[in-house]
Symmetry: C2
Subunit: 150 residues, 2 copies
DNA sequence: TTGACTGCAAACGATTTGCAATTGC
DNA sequence: GCAATTGCAAATCGTTTGCAGTCAA
């Protein structure tokens, strides 16, 4: 979820620490590791996946802490929860605006930037409904890997 | 989920029956009731909500049948599952293409049609990824009711 | 008649919670 | 030192499943 030409992981980690402190969140070892894990890989892991990966670094970390941390960071806008068709939720570091491609076969989620969509105006009818804070596009399809496999 | 000027509930129910028969699905009482319930109200009920509502008509229907029916109808494209930020899945009859407005406060889901988005071209970079079968916009915000309440 | 469908009850997986011990500030 | 955070274990919630009886075709 990091675009390397824009900033480095360590830069993002610094921002993360500042964000936490401003929000009154303690910068614990667990939170740091979980957030760094999300930055390091461009995929969209489930809580359980994150847990498996980081137990190599911190063997004592518990799965409930991963869940709790993700929920806390989500509340503070540092992490985004991605709704997929699967039962497990998936997560990503909330760094730059983008949209999602989901493969119906392998369930993999891919990021895309789509400035044309970001710029498009909302339908006028929305104004009566309320105030929009975010708009997001989700596309379903079959990725080339899975197409080849069939 | 029905746009009244386009067709009536009974017309949609006829289509539903034809669809089922073509797909080799038996037109059972339970399936009929569940689908009609989805047509009758423009909201996006969870399986449990559907079950509560229809027990007034068919007291013996079980919650697992509702789940099973929704899954079956989803597989056949007659029903759509909506991913929200909540833990429960929500459902709607799959009748015409539209997008969703979700209120972050009351979690209510509203349908909107948005032809400008439907017509917009996908980013060229997608073609390398695979074949897209659907694209959908989801907007989060706070509805006027909830704004007034705060 | 017969296989598809249903209701029941029990299992399941993902996530949440209460509590005591621990840790960052 | 103290409140926030963690790890543990147990609970909860939404959903799924095996099985025997039932029903649409």
């Amino acid at each position: 979820m990091l675009s390397p030409e824009q900033s480095s992981i360590s830069q993002e980690m610094e921002k993360f620490i500042i964000h936490c402190k401003q929000a009154g969140l303690k910068v614990t070892h667990q939170r740091t590791i979980i957030y760094r894990e999300l930055l390091q890989r461009p995929d969209h892991p489930a809580a359980e996946t994150i847990h498996k990966r980081i137990t190599k670094e911190v063997p004592s970390i518990s799965l409930d802490t991963v869940y709790r941390t993700l929920a806390t960071l989500e509340q503070h806008g540092l992490v985004k929860r991605i709704q997929t068709a699967e039962s497990q939720a998936r997560f990503e570091a909330a760094i730059f605006p983008h949209h999602h491609l989901i493969c119906s076969a392998c369930k993999d989620v891919m990021d895309i930037v789509w400035p044309e969509f970001d710029q498009i105006e909302l339908p006028a009818s929305i104004h009566d409904w309320g105030a929009i804070s975010s708009k997001n596009a989700v596309m379903y399809g079959v990725c080339t890997n899975c197409q080849a496999r069939c």
